[in-house]
């Protein structure tokens, strides 16, 4: 049975939404009646923006429950996609940590209840099975597993690398927590507060303005709003790189392998450390120090870009160009250099 404290830990679940609805709070009096909620929502967003972390304030459960929808309301009013993603990623990380320490009953209740991790809830069963040295405690229907796991682009999340039987995929508790956390993130990104609620009273509008300023300042100082140079279709980058660059430009959360691949590829074609770091500035969890460390490390080690077979395995390969679909390149770098040569030749021919 979920407690009120659980609603504070997982304020996006249906029960928490129901609880908030029952309070029948009027937005016009929100700032006067619940000043603590407004300041907590502000605090949450400030930490999300500056540190990429969604903290938990156990001392005031009611405030914690209410601050979540208010923070989301602020995000919708600001309408900044980068902030929305950064909030969703930070919240999902917090959820993942909580779920790992949760009892099996609670995990089941949260996962199965419609609206929490998916519209209809997950088909999840608790059943322990040992395979080799690994203990699997959960099994999840493959339809629910796939709905989240395909976002990971990571070989360990491929279904073939998990025990699958009779329609169910076996998972450890840690894996299940990670999947559920990702589902929480996706639900946040899907749901937007209807626009009619975004007529904000004066006092709240002031707070929202402050957050907006903070977003602008942070983007100016840290993200620097450098547009990523994305080649238009027919450019020299292979389609896989092009696709990742387009998503990076939109501020989508790239998977670990996608980030490494982009980094190795760009370093290999001679981009400078600073240029490569800039590619990651719009990531919802961007950390300049860490990114710089990775880029420098990759540069010193001289890693080459993943080859096409490996990228195919990770689901990163996008064979939209005939060189790729016909298997005429084995590594994206070959595509790049060949295209550079061909386009250079075309240019010099047209100049002649």
């Amino acid at each position: 049975m979920l407690t009120k404290e659980d609603l504070a830990k997982y304020p996006s679940i249906e029960l928490a939404r129901k609880y908030v609805r029952q309070l029948n709070i009027d937005i016009t009096s929100l700032a006067d009646e619940f000043p603590d909620v407004i300041s907590r929502a502000y605090q949450i967003l400030r930490e999300v923006i500056t540190r990429g972390v969604y903290t938990y304030l156990a001392s005031s459960i009611d405030t914690e429950i209410l601050a979540f929808p208010v923070a989301r309301l602020f995000i919708d009013a600001i309408g900044d996609e980068w902030l929305r993603r950064r909030f969703a990623v930070a919240f999902s990380k917090r959820v993942g940590k909580f779920l790992q320490g949760e009892s099996n009953d609670k995990i089941l209740e949260i996962a199965k209840m419609p609206g929490n991790v998916s519209e209809s809830g997950w088909d999840l069963i608790y059943e322990v099975k040992r395979v080799g040295v690994k203990y699997y405690e959960w099994k999840l229907h493959f339809k629910d597993y796939l709905s989240v796991a395909v976002h990971f682009h990571d070989i360990t999340w491929k279904m073939c690398n998990h025990p699958v039987s009779n329609g169910y995929v076996r998972l450890t508790k840690r894996e299940l927590a990670r999947l559920m956390a990702e589902a929480f993130k996706e639900r946040i990104l899907e749901r937007r507060v209807p626009k009619r609620f975004i007529e904000l009273p004066e006092k709240i509008a002031r707070t929202v303005k402050e957050i907006e300023e903070l977003v602008k300042r942070y983007k100016k100082e840290v993200i620097r709003e450098i547009p990523i140079k994305v080649e238009i279709s027919g450019g020299v980058y292979p389609p896989c790189v092009q696709f990742i660059l387009e998503r990076a430009e939109k501020g989508e959360n790239l998977s670990h392998v996608e980030r490494l691949f982009l980094m190795f590829f760009m370093l290999n074609i001679g981009k400078r450390e600073e240029e490569v770091v800039d590619l990651f500035r719009k990531m919802p969890d961007f950390n300049e120090e860490r990114t710089r460390y990775y880029v420098r490390h990759a540069k010193n080690k001289g890693y080459t870009a993943h080859n096409c077979d490996t990228l195919k395995t990770y689901g990163i390969c996008k064979p939209t160009h005939r060189w790729c679909s016909e298997g005429r390149v084995k590594n994206p770098l070959t595509f790049y250099y060949r295209m550079l040569y061909v386009s250079g030749k075309r240019r010099s021919e047209s100049e002649e």
């Binding site: 339809k143 070989i155 073939c160 025990p163 699958v164 195919k312 689901g315």
Partner: protein, 416 residues
Amino acid sequence: MKSNMKTVLLLKSLFEAYYRENDIPTPPHFSKREFGFMLWDKEGMIRHKTFYSRTEFLTFLRKKVPKNAYRSAAYYLDPEAQNMEGKGWVGADLIFDIDADHLTTPCKEIHDRWICMKCGTTGIGKKPARCLNCKSTVINEVSWICDQCLNFAKDEVFKLLDFLFDDFGISEKEVKVVYSGHRGYHVHVDNEAVKELSSDERREIVDYISGTGIKVENLGLIEVSAGGRKFIIGPDLTSEGWGKRLVKSIIKVFSSPDLDKVLIETGIPKRKIDILLVNREKVVTALSSVPSRWDILQGIGISIWKNIASAAIKKTAAQIDEPVTVDIHRLIRLEHSLHGSTGFRVTPISVTDLERFDPFKDAIIFKGEKEVIFKEYCPEFRIGDEVFGPYQKGQKVELPLSAVVFTLAKAVAELL
């Protein structure tokens, strides 16, 4: 190769008789499906067609007499809309295509031919990248079908069904196997759980069935250290999914007379292969026990097992055509229609009948006889219990009607 007018008229009249005399069943949820047709006298395909009643559907088939007929795997709110956005995608059956053309079969070297469109040079087997005579790249492939390649395709269907039933928990009644009328089989899964899967999710299912991206460490095959010694542990017959399949496949490989060939192909050093060949029975016993014992052979370390595992995975994986499964707007051949390149019926088969199904007998519908002249070399083929050919260019032969339709539709013969 284009067929002459007389040939087209005969084929069309035979197809017309078939559609007139048979009440072709409508596919499930037919009013939500998009239909597509290729006609005898027009290039390209008529798409975005929909039917609101069974009568309308049958009347269309009888009036237009399509050369090829297709229907969508997907259900739409408005199947008639001219673009995909307007159609309102609701869901789609999960479709698999197994095509003998994509399988490596020894018979291809015997019956497939190519012809250079520039200088007319012909050759047997798969087409070369460039013509052996004039170096042109414009080369047409004339692929053929025989018992051997269609049996290879059927074996792949059985492998696929095993994945669907055991791993995905799909029941037999939710699966329909359809002989495509030419080179292979389609497998349709009509199940609520798969209906709304996205392209990416369907690709992941393809990867699962084709064993793409397996890391054997994740199946439990690893080396561990204990008490200063290294041990190899791995999955056993009580494991699930690919872990169990891996063990079963290695046992099968080690029980087969071709073990030496398989091991040589893996690139394992000769002296290690010798150890494995001498101890083949020991390996079978060790891997058949629960828990399995992977550590029984001195000198056979984890890297050798990983090599063997890669080969075993390839043998167990089903070879399916990825783009067909991933494309959620795909048009697939209409069941019970006729295939314009063979005159064979696109035939649904129940899983229990699949073993017995004989495409050269059970998909044949025409009766009677006619004389034809061969305009190309025609390899041997079988219709029912009778084997025909090979026939040389210019040869005149009287054949049963189904054989006539097959050779006309394959464009190797003409009517006299």
